[in-house]
Symmetry: C2
Subunit: 332 residues, 2 copies
Amino acid sequence: MKVSEIGEFGLIDLLAEMIGDVADDRLILTIGDDTAAWHGDTSIQLATVDSLIQDTYFSFDTASWEEVGWKALAVNLSDIAAMGGIPRYVLVSLSLPGNTEVENVIALYRGMLDLAHRFKVAIIGGNISNSPKVAIHVTVLGSALDKDSHILTRTTAQPGDKIVVTGQLGASNAGLKMLLEGLTFEPEATAAFRKAFLTPYPRITEGQQLVKYGVKTAVDISDGLIADLGHICQASKVGARLEVDHVPVSPHVQANFGGDALAMALTGGEEYQLLFTATPGQIDSVKAVISCPLAVIGEITAEHTGEIVLVDSDGNPVDLPGTGWDHFAKRK
Amino acid sequence: MKVSEIGEFGLIDLLAEMIGDVADDRLILTIGDDTAAWHGDTSIQLATVDSLIQDTYFSFDTASWEEVGWKALAVNLSDIAAMGGIPRYVLVSLSLPGNTEVENVIALYRGMLDLAHRFKVAIIGGNISNSPKVAIHVTVLGSALDKDSHILTRTTAQPGDKIVVTGQLGASNAGLKMLLEGLTFEPEATAAFRKAFLTPYPRITEGQQLVKYGVKTAVDISDGLIADLGHICQASKVGARLEVDHVPVSPHVQANFGGDALAMALTGGEEYQLLFTATPGQIDSVKAVISCPLAVIGEITAEHTGEIVLVDSDGNPVDLPGTGWDHFAKRK
């Protein structure tokens, strides 16, 4: 059996089973949430690793070294954001060919440091290795807000919780399509799509605000809204009713992709918005302080465990023609 | 300017300068020692990352997936050993082609878990990405022995300290040569060379014993004895007199490589023995408890800062013919 046949999630499940339960009563979360988490001497500690591989996840034909550096750190900070934590320290394991221009490596680090400085995160270590393609593996260490703070997990969604998403969706997917297919748009849309795909801004502040107002359940949207909502449903053993008319599609995506826009917002990965579940009271509290839009897009249900029912504004089930998604889309 | 022209250490120096001093009074060590280190809530915390890249650092023509898994973790545990710390948690960022056999990935993890279990280390997270070649980037988190324990650094060597090395040297380099050049030896030497190169046993226990008996200065031998002693000398702003006749060359290397054996022991990388400096009293205390051989191979000097003078047992300077090393070998 090949890895491509069981897929990334199949392989992760298999390895998680092999690793088994670890006899360490400090551990809170291991494989399967946005970060690992354990009880430190006082506060909860967090660690996550993610990688960008040249010509698999990005190409220097369409992205600058600086943008790749930013993104390599951003996707990891987004995992800390999804826990409502504070990112602190970064280790960078960088592979590159010997004939790489030094100034390109400097540009890559400039991109990482630009983002790191915004969140007072320090690059404290790393490793450089020789490889035919560029690969950036970034580990971020962080902690809960303070010694009494909880973290946001994917196992705590309750029937009756509202489903909420920060910001707007679809622009990262539009950026990927634009770069891959050489599409052209008016300058403002072009800039928005490029930024969404290559230099996303992790929702660190927003994740911390969720913790402060008692929200318990969140993920970042890295695999796509439906897929990541599916992760919450499976981990929490609940279902979800997703009101597609309330999904906040980026206006630039709406204007330029028309009939495909909703599907892009529902299934496009690498959006790095936060998806969370909360009570109406918690949502009102968060809305009063948060600086980004929040959209209530559905409700957690007791029935259809692990499944997501897509409905229109009248509550009728909908299919998404041409997307491969039906209204009982069951996601791994 | 290409990366290959300034080399790994040149690039690291440049990036370290770019990253600059981090305004974080908890940080103890960042780039430039075996691990990063900072003051946790009670004890000192450690983090390190290192990688193995297929066809650059290993080949599946000569190494099994299990051996590669072991080694990927071992080289990182060795960095924690060099700090005298306790390894605790591991994150694995694994890149592989989609057509990789799942059972090979399982064998890779079996190799990692075999070693992890010996030191009660838990794999708590990771990431899997798609890449044309296999690459394993391992991050290990650890801590000092307890809240009052110091860590071993490379900046604390003092003139008059003896230079000491654990175990024997040269067998890893012999293993590399054996696999690369298809050399054949008697079974016992073959096994010893293979083990030294592919499944080294990190000196975790020994590093902790050094801390307990007051030793302050250590590195693990990853770049080669002379190169790593050079790192201590530069970081501590001292010189070193290295008595080549006392260097513990592996008997198998001596028997099979004759005239090249000493040079292999002095310059071969990836040996993962500990190299430390200590007072004679500390050495006696450590010798009484440690289970591996210790060899005193020279002395730290105030003169020739950053340089290593190679001498014979009469104290006369020696050259190593045919190795490219002279007795003033200055190492970056």
